[in-house]
Symmetry: C2
Subunit: 415 residues, 2 copies
Amino acid sequence: MAHALPISPLARPLPELGVIRGVRLGAAAAGIRYKGRTDLVLAEFAAGTTVAGVFTKSKCPGAPVDWCRAVLPHGQAGALVVNAGNANVFTGKAGRDTCQATAEAAAKLAGCPLDAVYLASTGVIGEILPHERITAALPTLHSSLTEDGWEAAARGIMTTDTFPKAAIRTATLNGATVTIQGIAKGSGMVAPDMATMLSFVATDAALPAPVLQALLAAEVKTTFNCITVDSDTSTSDMVLLFATGAANNGPVAAETDALTDPTLGAFRAALHAVLHELAQLVIRDGEGATKLMSIQVSGAVSDLSAWRVAMAIGNSPLVKTAIAGEDANWGRIVMAVGKCGEPADRDTLSVSIGGVCIARNGTVVPGYDETPVVAHMKGQEIDIAVDLGQGAGAAQAWSCDLTHGYIDINGSYRS
Amino acid sequence: MAHALPISPLARPLPELGVIRGVRLGAAAAGIRYKGRTDLVLAEFAAGTTVAGVFTKSKCPGAPVDWCRAVLPHGQAGALVVNAGNANVFTGKAGRDTCQATAEAAAKLAGCPLDAVYLASTGVIGEILPHERITAALPTLHSSLTEDGWEAAARGIMTTDTFPKAAIRTATLNGATVTIQGIAKGSGMVAPDMATMLSFVATDAALPAPVLQALLAAEVKTTFNCITVDSDTSTSDMVLLFATGAANNGPVAAETDALTDPTLGAFRAALHAVLHELAQLVIRDGEGATKLMSIQVSGAVSDLSAWRVAMAIGNSPLVKTAIAGEDANWGRIVMAVGKCGEPADRDTLSVSIGGVCIARNGTVVPGYDETPVVAHMKGQEIDIAVDLGQGAGAAQAWSCDLTHGYIDINGSYRS
């Protein structure tokens, strides 16, 4: 199924991956839904590993999301189990039982408490996920875990993804060099059917769980929460960040200072870079995507308002189809700004595409020459900038075009 | 351009239209953008005609929307001028000048005050609309106006519409028989480029402008405001309702009683029916539509909450592509309910398609047989019902599927 899809024209090769001391991982073919490919990922974390998580805001979350939310307050991670092919969503008591059984099996293998096991599932909604396939495969998988299992894990969590996604950065923390490495899957922002946004990031930094949580929440806001493929939010989205502490970087700020402590500045920047890169990769594998759209909004009454305007542009089917058609149709950008309900005024609005200011002060720029904009539209990366002329709020968002490929993938997926 | 599109498979023939005493109208080919078809509509109203209007909530409205909003408080209508092919949006002072010149020409021909002229434009954004083409065509057009010009008007306002849209009803008001007749155009809910939702309705009832406004606002809420093709809101949407008073139905309720006065009950029901039918026709001509989706939401904490859930389902690209693919993918409905942020609980949610309850109490219905649902999905009219189990709020919304046709129309329109 997913394998039949051609690789996205926006695909990026995997970077040269490293290891995160204290993390061993791998993948196996458990036959949950796909045939002839891996679909089960297990990661084991060294004792003392802390964890942070950000989850879907859906009011109908999957059972694994409920599980992770319940155990997160303990702040300790020993194992992570992820399966592709079945989301374990809307499965009632059977879904909760599968979580329990899976976590028990993983805890036993990893020698960690039950509430140190994290679970994630992605795939079809509403079908019972038989835990036996998972628990039967876990012991052999566990015995094969290595520090080098990152690429296998990146591939094992794919659904409609057309290429595996990973990113790596290093930073200095209290004089120690720490590494941050993560994987993600897309590929609708989300198709709840066979695609959900999942990302798992690990670092060898030693950071208390509350600090980790504060950093993750802040950086997800400007990365994963600023991308959209189709405006649909999965029942299963999650980003987990694990910190093994193997780098022995010594004590850091308290939770309350996490976002201001200069000691954490380089780490935070590297974390941002990893999350940003993973989020970009998800957009680059957006279902049917042929172009990456970057949207810069300035002059809003607040950053939140700017974000809403940017997402309205990124979510607009009419803007997205215009991008697909290589049409410098700035009128649709004006429409998207106008419709989203945020403070805006036609007469102070300006719109640029590819760095060329097209419209300003309520009308098209006198003598506007479309030639360079038309050329820009033919590229793979489309830059849209809007200034609202209302205040100092700014935000950036990323989206992709809406093409026949999206319809092909989603119009005939399950059947 | 618009003419190249095949007629929607959901099209309906024009009903047998009547006349509205006090309204004369017609269409002409002014060559604004289209060749070889009518693109300019003029209607003239008898002295004493009252008017009500509902307009786009866009923060970047077109110049004609500004014009109508400004004159509406006078409550009197003498003429209506509509053009297709150019929306006169984001055109600065030139756009306002075009409105002024057009209104002056129409006022002179109709012998009415300037502030009794109503204007609407639909078409491309950001291009100057030369008023000369309109004002040059108006005198001949004016001399050709007839009470029978409704079909010509319905055709003259089309852009990407594939069929003309009109509806007619009668009602008894204070013992007099009154007629309500209207036309509309779509056909994205809206593509601001070449499609905008416009609707013009007239009645021979005698109703003060404030009463008319109260009735129109109430009935638009459950008709035009409950349809969506692509979640994009035009800069130019408007619904105008004119009442000529030719039916001499005698005095009615004051504005404050408009929604409760039993005298107005039959009129209100007929108005609702006309607006509902026109709104349905707009959805039936949704860009690329092959299926009409009716969404019934009950058990919400309020009617407003139910409306938001219904619109979230109707706007979801994943639900819409599933409908296009005839896939009874109820998981995507669960996703749409979960993502929209309204009070909902997976464990009290139930989902039905085609009258068959599929999921209830957080899981699929035991023994669920997909066969009748699969058969229902093959039809042209798809019924989705969701009960949230939270309260007594209910709402209904209508949408269409998302197909390759939508991408074709919008990915290559302007260029």
